[in-house]
């Protein structure tokens, strides 16, 4: 699935609860811990538009922060469509045409499977660590948890279009909200956690929604139905031949 989304949901459990750490450490620790992790999940992506809505069920494997394989299960007409990412590169496979196609750079900005995520969003997962300067804005109490408000500003050369991003992370590492601002400081889109659940032995953001500010009637929701962490995934899963020939 989308590495970035997974990454964000993974943040939830990966950082040991720390009392007062600075923002960079919170995020960096999360990613350091996450590297080398693997997961398998099943999820449903719902794309909502004012005049229609469609849902797809997918299965996803990840290994580290660079490699992922996503395969569509439902609906029937899309079954078998798959996406493989490795580092910054993305390949697509469609059983309909029985071809593996490497997504050229010119199409990386396009929407991934019709959702509100771009192909780029899917491949660039570790940006949030190296390419930003993080600042802890506030720390508030929320029942038994604390909520950290972190502001992340991309470095000058970062391949990030946003002016800044803001994350609300609970001290049990659930990302409550991730907001993307343009360079005028206007909110462009928000990724918010709608529902938490205990899955795979951890508390995760079960349902998240990506919503663009300018188009209130359009959003994409991802719901994790099932997830397993630290599974044994061979490197051979993340190859072009595996993309073309599903073994399960």
């Amino acid at each position: 699935m989308t590495a970035r989304l997974l990454f964000l949901s993974l943040l939830i459990f990966s950082i040991p609860a720390v009392a007062a750490e600075d923002a960079g450490q919170i995020i960096r620790a999360a990613v350091d811990h996450w590297r080398g992790l693997s997961s398998y999940s099943e999820m449903t992506m719902t794309i909502h538009r004012p005049d229609w809505e469609r849902s797809m069920t997918m299965q996803a494997w990840t290994k580290g922060d660079e490699r992922s394989l996503v395969r569509v299960l439902e609906p029937r007409k899309d079954r078998g469509n798959a996406t493989l990412t490795d580092d910054n590169t993305m390949w697509s496979y469609s059983p309909r045409i029985n071809r593996v196609i490497k997504i050229p750079s010119s199409m990386m900005g396009q929407s991934w499977m019709g959702s509100d995520f771009s192909n780029r969003d899917i491949t660039r997962a570790d940006d949030i660590v190296d390419q930003y300067e993080h600042t802890l804005l506030t720390e508030t109490e929320d029942g038994e948890f604390r909520v950290y408000e972190i502001r992340s500003v991309p470095f000058e050369d970062a391949a990030v279009v946003w002016g800044r991003e803001e994350l609300s992370i609970r001290s049990d590492h659930v990302v409550l909200e991730h907001r993307f601002y343009d360079q005028d400081g206007d909110l462009v889109k928000t990724l918010s956690t709608l529902e938490l659940a205990d899955l795979g032995g951890r508390t995760v953001a079960r349902r998240q929604r990506m919503q663009k500010t300018e188009t209130p009637g359009e959003w994409t929701e991802i719901q994790i139905n099932d997830v397993e962490y630290d599974i044994d995934v061979g490197d051979s899963l993340f190859t072009l031949s595996s993309l073309r020939n599903p073994r399960n």
Binding site: D87, P104, S105, V161, F180
Partner: protein
């Protein structure tokens, strides 16, 4: 001779009204020749200059495949530093090297395909359209300038502006994606909207770094003093690059422009001749009248022993005098009307149409010496030829017949 001159002059003004009208016709004709040619030459010169600033330069060296596959896979075989050193030794008015590849530019809201151009700002400025754009912000200041220049139109499409960051993505030679953030340091207005839409310009070294191709470029560019004369330049370029690079002149690179140049040279002559022909009927008519009126007088002169050649000479002299006065006034009027227009004739109301023709919407008339000389010479030579017939007839009159003739 002096007598002949005086006589011709006097004869010319015997019928002031007729001469003035004829003179008026010549002036209008000459004015039209020169004015129209200055206008069309201005259009073509600009078309070519604009074209050259896009190509850019008069001669280019590239990888032979660049035409079919204008990407980072078709780099110039030579290293940038080696080519630059050799180009610097040539005594050419302007040269530069560039790295030009396709890429994608993204803002917070939009993405667009663009042509990424990595330039050496110091060298490129004199060669390309960078020389005469108006810019909000600044131009690039070094090969490793990390800022980017984009066109006004592109900035609007991307919903971005001066001082904001954009992300540039492009393909590296090993087929992976290279990307980086760039700050927009300049937004330019170009003459042609297409340039504003499709060009993103940054420092050459910056782009080389992004693509992982240090010291490599896609083209070496050389310009001479005159765009019409490029064959020497091509030979010089050949010596500066290795044999597996392809050297092409702008004439080869842009057939349309090369053709326009040829067509325009032809057009100048055709236009002058057509105008002259329309004029010649009046000229011959005037001379025929002038001779006819003086049949008796000519008969008298002939019978007094004047040689026919003197008669011929005198009529010719009259004709040439008329033409010369017409030319002087015509040239002057043309000059006076073109002068105030040299700051440009604005045709922006038909800008899109002009763009289809490859012309910017402001035309600067180009009064070229050759064209003015051509017009004057054509008028004098053809005028001379046209006057021969009536003058010759006059000199052939039989004195007795002529004297008997009553009007």
């Amino acid at each position: 001779m002096r007598v002949l001159l005086t006589l011709a002059w006097r004869n010319l003004w015997r019928n002031q009204r007729r001469t003035s009208i004829m003179l008026g016709a010549i002036v209008v004709g000459v004015w039209a020749m020169i004015f129209m040619n200055a206008l069309s030459q201005g259009m073509v010169t600009q078309m070519i200059e604009d074209g050259l600033s896009v190509i850019p330069g008069h001669v280019q060296a590239r990888h032979p495949n660049y035409g079919d596959d204008p990407t980072v896979n078709s780099l110039l075989p030579d290293n940038d530093s080696a080519v630059s050193a050799r180009l610097a030794e040539l005594d050419a008015p302007a040269w530069t090297t560039r790295l030009t590849v396709p890429g994608v530019i993204s803002s917070e809201r939009e993405s667009r395909g663009v042509t990424l151009i990595g330039v050496d700002p110091a060298r490129d400025a004199s060669l390309s359209f960078l020389a005469d754009i108006t810019i909000e912000g600044r131009l690039l200041d070094a090969v490793d300038d990390r800022g980017i220049l984009i066109g006004r139109k592109l900035a609007e499409t991307l919903d971005t502006e001066l001082g904001k960051r954009v992300v540039i993505m492009s393909q590296t030679p090993d087929n992976t994606i290279a990307d980086r953030g760039f700050r927009v340091v300049g937004v330019f207005d170009a003459k042609v909207e297409l340039w504003e839409e499709t060009w993103a310009i940054t420092g050459k070294q910056t782009l080389q770094g992004l693509l992982g191709v240090p010291d490599r470029v896609t083209e070496a560019i050389l310009s001479g003093a005159d765009y019409r004369d490029v064959s020497d330049l091509a030979e010089q370029m050949q010596t500066a690059v290795s044999t597996d690079a392809r050297v092409q002149t702008w004439l080869e690179l842009d057939n349309y422009l090369a053709t326009m140049l040829g067509v325009m040279d032809g057009f100048v002559l055709i236009w002058v001749v057509v105008i002259f022909l329309a004029l010649s009927f009046g000229l011959v008519n005037t001379l025929v009248m002038a001779v006819f009126e003086r049949v008796r007088e000519i008969g008298l002169m002939l019978s007094l022993g004047m040689r026919p050649s003197s008669i011929l000479g005198q009529i010719m002299l009259e004709s040439m005098m008329l033409l010369l006065i017409g030319l002087v006034i015509g040239n002057l009027v043309a000059w006076l009307t073109i002068r105030p227009l040299e700051s440009g004739i604005d045709l922006s109301m038909v800008a899109e149409g002009m763009e289809m023709m490859g012309v910017a919407s402001v035309i600067y008339p180009d009064l070229r010496q050759e064209d003015v000389i051509l017009a004057n010479v054509v008028v004098l030579v053809l005028g001379f030829l046209a006057s021969l017939s009536p003058a010759w007839r006059a000199s052939r009159y039989d004195p007795v017949e002529a004297l008997r003739k009553v009007d």
